[in-house]
Symmetry: C2
Subunit: 409 residues, 2 copies
């Protein structure tokens, strides 16, 4: 008798974004003529960099010709892309990695979701709270998160990030086996300084903790003092896996490309205390359950490292960060307290007078016709906040701010 | 202390294809002037259909323009592709599926590897032997395969497919929870008749067995009596998940696209006997750990269902199947016994005089300078066979046959 993985059944049936969609639809049915502005989901709106477009056309043409055709590529990604990553994203910041420490994939969601394959099912998990839901849900699915009790998972340690602690999680006084950190942070849009990140690396070194560091939004960092990679911190190669994505860096949400760094020095233990290099295990996982990323996509990703590509991606990031500035100023002018948006494309807005996230979401939808994401959807510490993204069209961002001003003031 | 998933450590360190590569390299070093023909790895050589090329150029251009740009697509795939699949691959054969029963992915390797996520770790596994190694390795990684003893995994039931039983696996007299079937078969190139497949569906219905049916090579079927989909058998929707791939159908090995069918009627049990629809679990798995397949790729896949696309893919498949015919005749003319190659792009060659797979592999490399894949690499019942693929260039296939004739006769 085939048996299901019952851990899946522990997942609540409601999905944040489908709940939002239902509420938005209900509004549309009752207000068919109202024009809604969506600043909820973190999807980009601007076209791909021209350099990527040209590179992908060229790649498509190569596949049309027997002499330049490419079939299966390396599961770990093509050297041309790995070399560009090493040189531009790491060596330029003084971080030296070997090509075999980089694994190109179809995106950070796949990698952050699949990384648990190489880890024991009973490791304890730590997360900053609020958090990108994939980290927790993927652990629930394999039983690692435990059971849900009063909105929290029993084997997950939540590190609250609130305005009260300036969104800096406190080092816990207990050991965590696996810790997820995401900086610049989704959903709060806040960043971590080198000094604070150093504390976490030291904690991990002392406690034999594995840090899963999601740096999908690093391209949005404006402040030169903020680290882009955890490997800028000494010792981090011994304790951290880093995830990167081209989705927000270069508009690849629909093209699908990211990469994961698993340093050779990084090990985890067996029950008998033997140290096992995680690079070898992740390589085996990828070779067995993945067959590489589209050649066309990889050529498109390589092109963002060309001089033209860099200029074009920078221009798009500037566009979104100008949106963020306009939104931040607009929201603050209404008296709202706004976090993030300076080194990240997300604005984390405190609801006024302790209104709940969902209540504020509904009010903003019905009064201003603007859709955000209720902060509580990202975890218990998100209650009383709402997330807005800066990935919209400029006109929409400006119009949304006008509407919110008119509604609130 | 972060702990590794120790099941990974049970996997043998030697990989079939890297062992082959090492032996080929050793030959090259000692025979630098010899021209080697590679008929080992199942990768295609012919360019993509022109219809796909044109569709992908168009898709790339859409992503270059703000008004036609697409970001995140549905995790399950775009409707345009799902509709084309439903209509052309299923309705045309009298199989009626709903769009939500189809999950487009980046390839059958990912799906056959990841499907285990939704199933309990202690289900028993059945495989036809020899077999595509991903089925077993992905089960080893989560502990489901048990331990390796004398070349077999303790929780895996092997169903030998040999010339002696005409490569038709016998229905076992014990219950299997999860059964992998692959038809047309990789590596043997053999197919299954409707009557034989019906026996398996009935076995599954009687024993509450989940069949994981890999039909990645269905486009190569020439005989109109051979089923392309397991759902051509009555009752199969209650017991089977089907995997399909565009890799061999349309040369997508480097572009990455496949799909998986999880019928709504298909359920598996909890420990208490509750029936859970697997469609819901797979949907949740994909929404959590996957972010959809490249838009460009999906447009390329859609195009193979256009009249031009169908003609072009058919022409390429005919090219490979003509290779297969030439190879089969060439090999048989030397007195070798050859299976497969009539409804599949693989030839499964019995080594003469009981020579081992690796011995024959080495002899063929050193005497004829032709690379195949030792059958034993696909499982114990592959010993005494070698696999050749028909995916090469015509000239290479012809030349390889000349060399093999010269060597053997």
């Amino acid at each position: 008798m085939a048996l299901v993985n019952e851990h899946f059944l522990k997942l609540p049936n409601n999905y944040l974004f489908s709940d939002i969609a239902k509420k938005v639809n209900a509004f549309r049915v009752s207000h068919p003529k109202k024009d809604i502005i969506r600043l909820g989901i973190g999807d980009v709106t601007q076209p791909l960099p021209q350099a990527s477009i040209e590179a992908m056309h060229k790649a498509v043409d190569e596949l049309a010709n027997k002499n330049t055709f490419r079939g299966y590529g390396p599961e770990q990604g093509y050297d041309f892309l790995i070399d560009a990553i090493l040189k531009n994203d790491y060596a330029s910041r003084g971080v030296h990695l070997e090509p075999s420490e980089i694994f190109v994939s179809d995106g950070a969601k796949s990698d952050t979701g699949n990384i648990g394959d190489i880890l024991r099912h009973d490791n304890s998990i730590g997360v900053t709270d609020p958090i990108y839901p994939v980290y927790i849900d993927s652990n629930v699915m394999c039983g690692r998160a435990g059971v849900l009790e009063d909105g929290k998972w029993s084997n997950v340690i939540y590190l609250p990030c609130l305005s009260e602690n300036n969104f800096i999680p406190s080092i816990p006084n207990r050991r965590i086996d696996i810790l997820y950190l995401c900086y610049p942070n989704n959903p709060t849009g806040t960043v971590i300084s080198k000094a604070e990140l150093k504390k976490w690396v030291n904690y991990a070194l002392e406690n034999d903790t594995l840090i899963l560091y999601d740096a999908a939004y690093e391209a949005y960092i404006q402040d030169p003092e903020i680290p882009h990679s955890i490997y800028e911190i000494k010792g981090a190669k011994k304790v951290a896996i880093e995830f990167r994505s081209f989705s927000k860096t270069a508009g690849f949400t629909g093209v699908r490309c990211g990469y994961t760094i698993v340093p050779k020095e990084l090990t985890a233990a067996t029950l008998t205390g033997e140290r096992i290099p995680l690079n070898r295990l992740w390589n085996r996982r990828q070779c067995t359950k993945f067959n590489g990323t589209s050649y066309i996509t990889q050529r498109g990703a390589e092109a963002i490292y060309s001089p033209e590509g860099k200029e074009q991606t920078k221009a798009t990031i500037n566009y979104y960060m100008t949106n963020a500035k306009i939104m931040k100023e607009g929201l603050e002018s209404t008296g709202l307290k706004v976090f993030g948006g300076e080194n990240a494309p997300y604005l984390w807005v405190k609801t006024p007078r302790g209104i709940s996230s969902w209540k504020f979401f509904e009010q903003m939808l019905y009064e201003a016709h603007v859709v955000g994401t209720p902060g509580v959807g990202f975890g218990p510490s998100g209650e009383g906040y709402i997330r807005l993204t800066a990935f919209g069209e400029r006109n929409d961002c400006e119009e949304a701010m006008k509407r919110i001003r008119k509604w609130i003031l």
